[in-house]
Symmetry: C2
């Protein structure tokens, strides 16, 4: 299976279109200013400045994090997806200027990492564990491939290829090479992407090497000893200090998501991509096992992953606290990437379901309405005053920020969103798969013919999806994802019930003819959702969802002390259109008051609690915190009868 | 009001007696071995070794924390309380040997702190903020006073007096003196104790100085600048970096408990003690305000205080999470000390109620059944596997430990327990106050005569208290504390209802004659308790209590997944005697099962939860974790119907 290229797709207005436009029109220009240190607020990026210095254009020391190069690379990749849809000379001029800096900064042997170039290049490749050179190269490769595919310009691609040659000469199983692998995974998936462009087996083999070597030796500790450093102390509280880096066991033996969540998920995405190319069934089996662990035991209802701020890490199965959660925006994005990779291997609706969940909840919560303010941490509960005085939630910012010293998330969500049109449809043989729903026209070549169709939907505001077959061919099959949350739906072709086959979350429709009108209506009532009884933090609680969208209560609508809001299992929920927040939900609820409580007592014999009826107003979780600081809560107390 | 001396009290078997004996017979010998680095397990103390080195007896560098001297001082104080009841040559020989080390280590000008003596004494008094010299001196004074009062031996007292002279010459408002105050409070309360022994106004004035200067200047920052250090960075996340030390505002202006909880409470105890001697009503008013903030808004149901592991600190009102709590044993002990000081100012039953709560819950939870294993952190909920992988509970040890590198808690609870008999009774004028209930004989002098009585009780296992008046006098008044949790009680004198007056938590009985038999029976049913609706973490939850004792569920009795246990508001609870755990409670409860849940789903539409009836077995919270590692929980879900 492969995704249908954005060149074969023309988006028309729908929620997906709005996201793509927001990313193109607001996020890309804003982030360019940020990366060039021209924002009025927030920490400076230094990402471009470091390249200017490394190119000899200015005299400045390296500044910012050791992985600051990756921010601009991710932004170039994001911009490239926009350029693939429509060339833009002004935007290309910026990128071409930056690429000229890269060319000047690149060392004669291909090396290119501003941290070492501007500090002490003799120390390069001596701290793979902490210093992110291979991670940055991964993002450089992705930017290079995307920009080449969008524009045909080779500049950045040649830079990447030369650097990859050096890395291939430096690392590997062969004697005389370093037997290392990255402390932060990412290059594995990027090398597969490069291989698909170049067809050079070295590129795939290097990715395979990094996966095969990982966790099979004590490279990080040996490397630390060579530097005169100690092993990674900070993570020694875990059962194995290299668990944080997923370097404590061979990748095929992993069974439970562990350590730094973005690292874990980029690794898994790389494994899935390599397995696609090599057919390595053990690698794929490890991916499947890990997919289940993450999505069935370690994922928040919003798709957020990474429960612990320490190490931005996974913790353990069914440990899903709403307040102390980390839920880094990048981690949600990386789970989305993992799903996109797995979906290429097999048409399983669950992959698209999780992409849908992530898109409409745990990734988008990372940006504000216009895409220029960002959360790094995405809690499911916020009591702002706690973030000031209680360590357990110090990491939870109570307002989105203009930028971060470690600004991995903003350009990451930009590249996810500008590429959204390439995650909507897939094709395999004569089947076209509708994965994520959006309004679009597509014309694309399948095995035995070309198909053209028009899709119209306001999903996820509405569950109606209309598809007109403009042109089909004999043998064409259309597969529509049937989301796992759907309890009932109708499917009509020209007003008739069609014969169709349902399999693993897809409805397969054959015998379609030119001009057929498909009406696919997913009933999308608001619903109460519970979590698995093994999840200690959500015991006795419920969340409100509608379709793939998780809702929340905000103080702005419901007052504070949201922990005292209860909802009955049979509460009728009414959905209405809101100009600002799309579909909002109103439901009768109860608020426990202090009426039955003597003001000064902290503890007292249980009395019948006093409740007040009120109408709770829910907005989509992803849109919380667009009206200033205030309380927010996803999981509410359940009032049984 | 003053506490009746242990010399006027003879304990007989009862729960209080058992605690005193455990402290004397088990904890003191065990801790002496620990302080001399002779335990087979656990970190070394170095507390005695540092003195041997400072005395020139051995050649060793300073080891352990900068405040390690205080551990042995607290142990001497604990031992002194035992010696006050009964002299013990073997025990005194140990202490006298140690005092001889102190005498050798003391510098000619009186200075005595092994950290600076063994490192660089020229740097002494240059880092009051972090380096605990005045804190250690406070504990030295307390040990000295207690040992002198117990034995009449002046050795350690003279050491203390000489050191205090030096401190008095070094610190004060006067020009030429340093205008500093301790980074960890304790010396203030100790100096009042010394003043009561010596009558030397300098001792009281020095305590007053430390309180008056505190928070009125930028001493810690100035001192840091003099050292070439930065201001206290670690706490700068708070609104004021010196908030951690309660040095951000004058002590009389404090309104909310803040920063390091033991520091805060030792400071308050010192303020209360100074106010007792000076009659400073503003100081007393600040104590009252803070008492209310702590006990009515920042105290766990067990009496534990300090919600945040970062800074071992208070957080904010009604922020009382059960899992991420710190609840240091020392913090509970220091709240007990604060209550003991306030009670001397005014016969308010609430002070004794909190002492009772602390004694039977949040302090005793710090030790195991035989007093030789210790918790530093006392959670109200424990899911052991979380402590391994989730940062928010990394600080929660799942088993009591043989010792700690920072072992402030073990000798602190020892000195609290060996002194317990001196916190039972108070006297003022012709009134004898019964504060904490225990079996005892007492004969003590009141204003107009001497009284003798015998008290017999199994409290808190049972609510019956029998008092026989052996000898009274005209005008004698007996005041019995009526705990705030009491819903009904009977009071009979020789079988008759006596005339009596109830006021502020005490029942005052006059006209008692020799031979009168008082029967005071507090009904002590098990009860369900709720917390204030502003407490987000306990919303919808209940705890089980009986008398002052908080109960918990343990995995050993009830299986795991205790978050899925629910109790009905009207659940009948039956109390029975258990050989090991005293009174245990059985109650019908519900366990939410996975029967209505598809195994693999993490989130699913709300269905009627499946419940299983079972009999929950509750044991006193203080006795949890005496049967190996396992889950524990105090706050349970309420099943409203």
């Amino acid at each position: 299976m492969e995704y249908v290229s954005s060149r074969d797709i023309h988006l028309s207005p729908s929620p997906v279109y709005s996201l793509v436009k927001k990313a193109e029109d607001k996020m890309l220009p804003y982030q360019w200013e940020a990366l060039n240190d021209r924002l009025a607020e927030g920490p400076k990026s230094y990402s471009v400045r470091n390249f200017r210095a490394a190119a000899g254009e200015i005299d400045a020391p390296h500044a910012g994090a050791v992985f600051q190069d990756s921010d601009i690379f991710k932004w170039i990749e994001a911009a490239a997806y926009a350029l693939k849809r429509e060339r833009n000379p002004a935007l290309e001029e910026k990128i071409d200027w930056f690429v000229s800096l890269m060319q000047k900064a690149q060392q004669p042997d291909g090396y290119l990492d501003t941290y070492y170039i501007l500090t002490d290049i003799s120390k390069r490749f001596t701290n793979l564990r902490d210093n992110h050179e291979l991670y940055c190269l991964g993002h450089l490769i992705e930017a290079a491939v995307a920009y080449f595919e969008a524009t045909g310009k080779r500049g950045i691609l040649d830079v990447a290829l030369k650097y990859v040659e050096l890395v291939n000469a430096t690392f590997g199983f062969e004697e005389g090479k370093k037997h290392g692998y990255p402390g932060h995974e990412e290059i594995e998936l990027a090398l597969v992407r490069l291989y698909r462009l170049t067809g050079d087996p070295m590129h795939l083999n290097l990715a395979r090497y990094f996966l095969s070597a990982r966790g099979t030796n004590d490279y990080f500790d040996d490397e630390a000893a060579s530097r005169g450093d100690k092993p990674a102390w900070a993570w020694s509280v875990y059962s194995h200090r290299n668990r944080y880096y997923q370097a404590d066991e061979p990748v095929k033996e992993m069974t439970m998501a562990k350590g730094h969540s973005v690292r874990q998920l980029y690794l898994l995405t790389g494994m899935a991509e390599v397995a696609l190319e090599t057919g390595d069934s053990e690698l794929k089996a490890a991916c499947d096992t890990m997919w289940k662990d993450i999505t069935r035991r370690q994922m928040y209802i919003t798709g957020a992953v990474g429960q612990s701020s320490f190490g931005e890490a996974f913790t353990l199965d069914y440990d899903l606290p709403s307040d102390t959660v980390y839920g880094e925006t990048c981690a949600a994005i990386s789970l989305y990437f993992f799903a996109t990779a797995l979906l290429k291997s097999h048409p399983l609706g669950e992959y698209g379901d999780i992409m849908d969940t992530l898109l409409h909840n745990g990734t988008l919560s990372g940006i504000n309405e216009d895409g220029t303010r960002y959360f790094y941490v995405n809690p499911l509960e916020c009591i702002p005053k706690r973030s000031k005085y209680s360590q357990s939630v110090f990491h939870v910012r109570t307002q989105r920020q203009p930028w971060y010293g470690c600004a991995c998330c903003p350009p990451n969500i930009a590249r996810m969103l500008t590429n959204l049109d390439e995650r909507l449809l897939l094709k395999s043989g004569n089947t076209l798969y509708v994965n994520l729903f959006a309004s679009l026209d597509t014309q694309t070549q399948l095995e035995s013919g070309s198909v053209s169709l028009t899709e119209t939907t306001d999903y996820p505001n509405d569950g109606s999806i209309s598809i007109r077959i403009n042109k089909a061919f004999h043998g064409f099959v259309l597969a529509l994802r049937l989301p796992g949350w759907v309890q009932s739906y109708t499917l009509r072709i020209n007003g008739q019930n069609p014969p169709c086959v349902m399999d693993e979350g897809y409805i397969y429709i054959s015998d379609l003819k030119d001009g057929d009108e498909i009406s696919y209506v997913l009933d999308m009532p608001a619903r109460l959702v519970a979590a698995h009884p093994l999840s200690h933090a959500t015991a006795g609680k419920v969340a409100v969802m509608r379709g793939p969208v998780v809702y929340c209560l905000e103080e702005a609508d419901n007052g504070g002390e949201l922990w005292n809001v209860l909802i009955r299992p049979d509460a009728p929920m009414s959905v209405s259109r809101d100009e600002r927040f799309g579909q909002v939900i109103a439901a009768p609820a109860l608020r426990q008051t202090q009426d039955n409580w003597d003001g000064y007592e902290l503890y007292a014999p249980l009395r019948r609690p006093a409740y007040q009826d009120f109408t709770a107003r829910f907005i989509p979780y992803r849109l919380w915190n667009n009206r200033g600081e205030g309380e927010m809560r996803v999981w509410l107390r359940l009032k049984e009868n």
